[in-house]
């Protein structure tokens, strides 16, 4: 039980719209009341701020178990809470992989003490090897709603088709809800041995490239498989203009597809790699400006449903390698909101939707992304959309420092984060 508190003076923005009201958070973890001039023993100032449902990251690498040098569930969730998130979807590429009940149970159990909810994704195939299906029904019973081999896509056409087919029969194990298969679209036969976007930059720098078509070909295949199976498909971190165009057409056709884009794919281009700074090495790679503009357009017109971070911490010494042998990935949880507010020319309601209720729906969560109304779970983010600040990698709560935005001036700062009624972030500081 936590003390009740009031968020005073803010503007509520949720899927129902926008209104000025105070929010009384009860001591049972739910919203007790929404209205004018509410009071409680404890008040958190929300003057000039937006009060929204907490954000949901569809794509977080927690690194625990297996790589606690880079991040732990505790540090990632603290970073997430400071970024306004109340739920993180844990990618299954841990060591061991989240491909069976015992590892998933372990992650969920560690997640109970975290500063955000931890939603477990599990792998589609055993060991993320792309061959045998993981025990999807057993995992669904534990609460898994997203299956992905993220880090690589399922290469084998037949394995992917069977996984999609199998996913259609899991309702008895989910209590009626559906599950979604999320794909990291990347045909390895075309991209393996590549370390940045293949094009003008890679040619000039002599770095082997990952061609855009490696992503697009798997997008095409998976859309075709989703069409024939009728199963739900989610496409992760789309990065090329043609991928987004394919999804746009598929949605118009009525295929059950959703898509996410990462913060870095709408803020950074492949020219960042000119410095050979490995902080810019990421998978899918940073693309040219024409692709970046297509990602922004896709976020604006609803083709892309969610902003994800693909938060991928790496210990400093891991990144201090030659560009081709450094691991791909960058931090994102603490900077995503500010970059979306600063860089996307979209209404704030749209940005919040991309970060909150739409990813919550994809993740199958009924605890997050809910309307800010009495009786709903008190998972909330309070942020000042106008506050200017400068990103300082050394000040991040993540255990790692591979933030590509060092020194960037941004607008939009999380002030408070409420998780099941507990103020886990107050005045931009984590409370535990």
């Amino acid at each position: 039980m936590t003390d009740s508190l009031v968020l005073r003076g803010g503007t509520i923005i949720d899927a129902r719209g926008s209104r000025r009201a105070d929010v009384l958070v009860g001591n049972d973890g739910t919203i007790e009341a929404v209205g004018e001039d509410l009071s409680s023993r404890r008040t958190l100032d929300a003057e000039g701020c937006i009060v929204s449902p907490g954000f949901v990251d569809l794509h977080t690498h927690l690194r625990q178990p297996g790589n606690e040098d880079a991040e732990t569930i505790e540090t990632a969730s603290r970073a997430g809470a400071l970024g306004g998130y109340t739920a993180l979807v844990a990618m299954p590429d841990t060591t061991p992989a989240m491909d069976c009940a015992s590892v998933v149970r372990d992650v969920l159990s560690m997640g109970r003490a975290a500063l955000t909810d931890i939603i477990a994704a599990a792998s589609i195939t055993v060991g993320r090897k792309g061959a045998e299906l993981s025990p999807m029904a057993e995992l669904a019973e534990l609460g898994v709603r997203i299956f992905t081999d993220d880090g690589s896509g399922v290469q084998d056409d037949m394995v992917m088709k069977r996984a999609l087919e199998y996913s259609l029969g899991l309702a008895p194990f989910t209590g009626g809800g559906s599950v979604v298969l999320a794909q990291h679209c990347d045909v390895l036969a075309l991209s393996q041995g590549g370390f940045m976007h293949e094009g003008e930059g890679s040619s000039r720098l002599g770095i082997p490239g990952q061609p855009a078509v490696a992503e697009e070909l798997m997008v095409m295949r998976d859309l075709a498989l989703a069409r024939v199976t009728g199963a739900r498909l989610h496409l992760q971190h789309l990065s090329t203009a043609r991928s987004i165009e394919l999804v746009r057409a598929a949605k118009a056709e009525g295929i059950a597809v959703t898509a996410e884009a990462t913060t870095h794919h709408f803020t950074l281009t492949d020219s960042c790699c000119d410095s050979f700074d490995t902080v810019y090495k990421v998978n899918p790679p940073l693309r040219p400006i024409s692709d970046v503009e297509a990602v922004r357009a896709g976020l604006g017109d609803g083709t892309i449903d969610a902003i994800a971070t693909d938060h991928a911490p790496h210990a400093k010494h891991q990144k201090e390698r030659p560009f081709d042998s450094a691991p791909p990935g960058m931090l994102g949880l603490e900077t995503a909101l500010a970059l979306a507010v600063t860089e996307l020319d979209l209404p704030i309601e749209t940005v919040i939707g991309l970060m909150s209720w739409r990813p919550a729906q994809i993740a199958g969560s009924d605890l997050h992304g809910r309307p800010v109304e009495a009786g709903q779970p008190a998972n909330l983010c309070v942020f000042d959309p106008q506050e200017q600040w400068t990103i300082d990698a050394s000040a991040l709560a993540s255990k790692s420092r591979n933030c590509p935005y060092e020194g960037r001036s941004v607008r939009g700062k999380v002030r408070h984060t409420i998780l099941h009624g507990e103020a886990v972030v107050v005045d931009s500081e984590a409370t535990r």
Binding site: S203, F276, S325
Partner: protein, 319 residues
């Protein structure tokens, strides 16, 4: 040359290249002396950090450093801590802690020399990074062409072969075009970079059409594994389409140069007849390499009051 490092040709620009070539010409004279040694880098230490096999480049740098009286240290990767999992950064910081003035680095990965400049105070000389750059090779090639052909302006140079994987090609394209030459790349599409957008080159797949128009034909080493990688059907087909065969020699103008960075695959990219032809300057390239590397080491490392505010020209005269 005001820079502290030599990482890529673009850092030098036309003026920088000219400066190196002018100074290299005077170091040629030093090399021809009975005792080919001048004391200009006495007390300086140069370390070789070669993560990739190299015989000619390392020996060439070694000769250059010794003729300038620098001390040298060889960090041989095969019997070093790098093989025990030491990180690149730790290796470089260890080297730096021994008190060195320059690191000459070769690495299989593009960009490593740039990364090293972030970690150590010493001058860094790129002796080849992956497919990216090999600036001293380009400088010695320019030096060779200048000696034989004089001015670059309006000259036509064909670079033939595996451009995609070639640091020699990337550096030479930058250097030749900076000096005013026109460059044509001749290669099968699978051995060209995915994009040559913005490159100052023409591209051809027709060696026979290009050869009669060249002032120099520069053949790149064909790595034997390109066949197994599926980039070419066979070495035999490559040789017949893109090799400088004995028959094609007749199409090379009399005064044109035949060049190759070595080591050659005789019978693949270059026939024995072409390699031994009077127009071939392949061994000249090697000897010119020493003078050019002397010039580079000198320009990066020479210091002291007597050398300050002195142009390369007058330095050369004072040697």
């Amino acid at each position: 040359m005001s820079a502290r490092h030599l990482l890529c040709v673009a850092d030098l620009g036309r003026e920088g290249i000219e400066e190196v070539l002018t100074l290299a010409a005077s170091f040629d004279e030093v090399s021809s002396r009975r005792i080919p040694r001048v004391p200009v880098l006495r007390g300086k230490t140069v370390a070789w950090l070669f993560y990739e096999d190299s015989t000619r480049t390392r020996l060439s740098f070694e000769a250059a450093a010794k003729r300038l009286s620098a001390d040298t240290m060889n960090f041989s990767v095969s019997n070093s801590s790098a093989n025990k999992g030491e990180s690149l950064r730790d290796t470089c910081e260890t080297l730096a802690a021994m008190g060195i003035d320059a690191i000459v680095v070769r690495h299989r990965s593009a960009g490593v020399p740039w990364q090293i400049t972030n970690w150590v105070a010493a001058s860094v000389i790129n002796a080849g990074d992956g497919w990216h750059e090999h600036p001293t090779q380009a400088l010695l090639d320019c030096f060779t062409i200048r000696k034989h052909l004089g001015d670059f302006e309006g000259r036509h140079i064909a670079i033939v072969g595996d451009i995609k994987h070639s640091r020699v090609a990337r550096s030479n394209i930058a250097a030749f075009s900076a000096l005013g030459a026109e460059v044509t790349l001749v290669a099968p599409p699978t051995l060209l970079p995915p994009s040559v957008e913005g490159w100052p080159v023409k591209v051809s797949h027709d060696l026979d059409a290009v050869l009669p128009t060249v002032d120099a034909v520069y053949l790149l080493r064909m790595q034997l594994e390109r066949q197994s990688d599926g980039l070419i059907p066979s070495l035999r087909e490559y040789s017949s389409c893109y090799g400088l065969t004995a028959q094609r020699l007749t199409a090379v103008p009399d005064e044109a140069l035949i060049m190759h960075p070595g080591p050659m695959n005789r019978g693949v990219e270059i026939s024995a007849e072409a390699a031994d032809d009077s127009r071939a300057v392949i061994t000249n390239q090697v000897s010119n390499g020493v003078s050019v590397r002397m010039a580079v080491l000198f320009l990066l490392l020479a210091s002291g009051s007597e050398l300050e505010d002195t142009t390369a020209d007058s330095l050369a005269k004072s040697l």
